[in-house]
């Protein structure tokens, strides 16, 4: 009895196996009785009572043995198991959570989730539409502006049409041809005032002024526009923006193709593969692309500073 007491004292900090031992002795049972009843080796029972949990096969089995032993002695097993939880970090099994609890958890996030998903969807759709539009509209815009700049038609009140073909041509004036004759005819009429009343002359004069005014406005606009011509010997991505930041051209050009556009200077030019550019002229002056390119790419502003 005294030896058992010393063992108890020495292991008071460890697994409270001595309580199992005390309970066993209170019932007047020996270790062998327990071993026979639980069909466990006597060494396991001793290990349990001495707190040598590490001598047992594993913590899972140790817990099982402790429960069986406690049940056999009719003592509460929880305090012993609680000790094992502390020492071996085996978390107490949470009991089955009720489903209503889950429902509450989900309900909190439910409208939020729904809203954010819809927002995300709308953003994705919006972004893809925007992207699609930018991809498909750009060539159209540049095509339109090119046409407009190639030929400007002016309609006179008499129903005739004046066509001013190229704005930045060397001779920006009125083209030779039928529409121009209309103007000269009108001028000729002015030179023969004898057949006309004062009123008619005034009307004609006003009309002529109007025609000349339009023509001179166009000429002034033409003078401000700059012209950029690029010819290619290889595939190259070209982006050209004018002074207002409007994209004039944004596409890939192949070998042999050309870009000829005009717009308001300065142009910001981006060439994806400057090696593919065989020649560039800005307002008739050659531009040295090789000097401007870095790592095969060229990004510069025309006119050059």
């Amino acid at each position: 009895m005294t030896t058992e007491q010393t063992v108890e004292q020495a292991e008071s900090q460890r697994f409270p196996g001595e309580r199992l031992q005390t309970a066993r002795m209170a019932r007047g049972l020996t270790i062998d009785d327990i071993a026979n009843a639980l069909h466990l080796p006597a060494s396991y029972i001793e290990a349990l009572e001495n707190g040598d949990i590490d001598c047992l096969p594993s913590v899972v089995f140790a817990r099982g043995y402790i429960r069986s032993y406690a049940k056999f002695l009719d003592v509460d097993a929880d305090e012993f198991l609680g000790y094992l939880d502390e020492q071996y970090g085996m978390a107490q099994r949470s009991s089955v959570k009720s489903v209503t609890k889950v429902r509450q958890q989900m309900k909190l996030s439910h409208p939020l989730l729904r809203l954010s998903t819809w927002l995300l969807l709308i953003i994705v759709i919006g972004a893809s539409i925007w992207w699609w539009r930018t991809q498909h509209e750009l060539p159209e815009i540049s095509g339109h502006s090119g046409e407009q700049q190639n030929a400007i038609s002016v309609e006179t009140s008499s129903g005739d049409t004046l066509v001013i073909p190229a704005l930045n041509d060397a001779e920006p004036a009125v083209d030779e041809g039928a529409p121009a004759e209309a103007v000269s005819e009108a001028a000729a009429e002015e030179e023969a005032p004898s057949d006309l009343t004062e009123q008619q002359i005034a009307q004609l004069q006003a009309e002529l002024d109007a025609v000349e005014g339009t023509a001179s406005d166009e000429a002034a606009a033409a003078a401000e526009l700059s012209r950029l011509q690029i010819s290619f010997s290889g595939e190259c991505w070209v982006t050209i923006k004018d002074a207002s930041g409007k994209t004039l051209f944004n596409n890939v050009r192949n070998a042999g193709s050309k870009v000829d556009i005009s717009g308001e200077a300065p142009f910001s030019v981006l060439l994806g593969a400057s090696a593919g550019v065989s020649g560039m002229r800005f307002n008739g002056e050659a531009v040295d692309v090789v000097a401007l390119s870095r790592d095969g790419m060229a990004r510069f502003t025309l006119p050059l500073d």
Partner: protein, 345 residues
């Protein structure tokens, strides 16, 4: 494609589709659902609709009017009514997710009895797919039970697990992540209830329902003679008089009633030990047999098996949820170790 997108919003599930109870373990969230596998079907004209599922439906069992039938779609651990099982799974999966915005499409691991046939496995797989699962993996029930009980399944060391479910009892010897020997007997909690009903009819001339029988089993049922005798008052319809009568049952009577199904389980355990390779048998003798499943909650069943085999027997912690938790752990291991643990069909 749509299933994949919906899958992002769904969590992986491990389902213990049992005869008596269905448990769902959600990855990283523990067991979230534990409901009886019962569905109540309402019939209006030729139209059939689900009236209740789970515990609501279980309360209706044996108490339904003509137009409602409460069905237990699982029998002996396998599907008895395919469509009703599908509906039930669908309900449980959506209940766990509770998100009406997107129909959940989770990866699902379902536990199947180890001796189920290809047809039965296929049926379980199909019904889970029909319930909205994106991918379905099957795992042998005893394997899941062993993992859930915390047994060292990956070690070269034999572990014996006896999973006493509602419909079947699965006995398996596991070593190195694989099943060395498995046996499945169609005896479980349901058979215990039936035996109690039969015993009461024979000895008291009274008829009791399954629900009452289950209550008797839970409250005073025992598998091994105990010093303490418990009693319970029950009411049943007297067959001779046709009038409900009250009578008292004690635990020794229930022990007698349960003798037959219990001896089948003991027999199966013994034959498993017989068939077991000697090395593994010695491992089991050293460490003991582990009991899981709802049947392990029957009082003194560990004592009975221990006395009959002479081996140490321990009841796993939280035996009811072992299989579902083990399935959950297997699901987590699935990503790390591949398909080693999952049954191939």
């Amino acid at each position: 494609m749509l299933k994949k997108i919906r899958g992002i919003f769904s969590s992986d599930l491990s389902i213990d589709l049992g005869t008596a109870n269905t448990l769902i373990y959600v990855r990283d969230r523990d067991i979230v659902l534990n409901e009886p596998s019962v569905v109540a079907i309402r019939q209006t004209g030729n139209q059939k609709s689900v009236a209740a599922v789970g515990s609501d439906a279980k309360r209706m069992l044996g108490r339904t009017p003509g137009n409602i039938t409460a069905i237990r779609p699982m029998k002996d651990g396998v599907i008895a009514d395919f469509h009703v099982t599908e509906k039930m799974l669908q309900y449980f999966i959506s209940k766990v997710h509770d998100n009406s915005f997107l129909t959940p499409s989770p990866r699902v691991l379902v536990c199947v009895p180890c001796k189920s046939t290809q047809v039965e496995r296929r049926a379980i797989k199909e019904s889970a797919l029909g319930a909205g699962a994106r991918e379905v993996y099957l795992i042998d029930e005893p394997m899941a039970a062993a993992i859930g009980a915390g047994l060292p399944v990956e070690e070269a060391n034999g572990s014996m697990v006896v999973d006493i479910g509602g419909g079947t009892t699965e006995i398996a010897v596991i070593s190195l992540n694989g099943i060395v020997y498995a046996e499945s007997v169609r005896v479980g909690g349901d058979r215990f209830d039936e035996s109690i009903v039969t015993y009461v009819r024979r000895n008291y001339g009274s008829l009791i329902g399954d629900a009452t029988a289950e209550r008797i089993k839970q409250e005073i049922g025992t598998a091994y003679p105990a010093t303490e005798v418990r009693e319970i008052d029950v009411r049943g319809r007297n067959l001779a008089e046709g009038i409900p009568r009250s009578f008292t049952l004690n635990s020794n009577e229930i022990l007698e009633a349960l003798q037959e199904p219990l001896s089948s389980i003991v027999q199966a355990v013994k034959s498993a030990l017989e068939q077991c390779p000697p090395e593994l048998a010695s491992d089991i003798a050293e460490r003991g047999i582990v009991l899981t499943g709802g049947g392990a909650l029957l009082r003194n069943i560990d004592r009975l098996i221990g006395e009959e085999t002479g081996l140490p027997v321990i009841v796993a912690e939280d035996p009811l949820t072992c299989v579902a938790r083990g399935g959950g752990k297997a699901l987590e291991m699935l990503d790390k170790h591949g398909f080693e643990l999952v049954a191939h069909d």
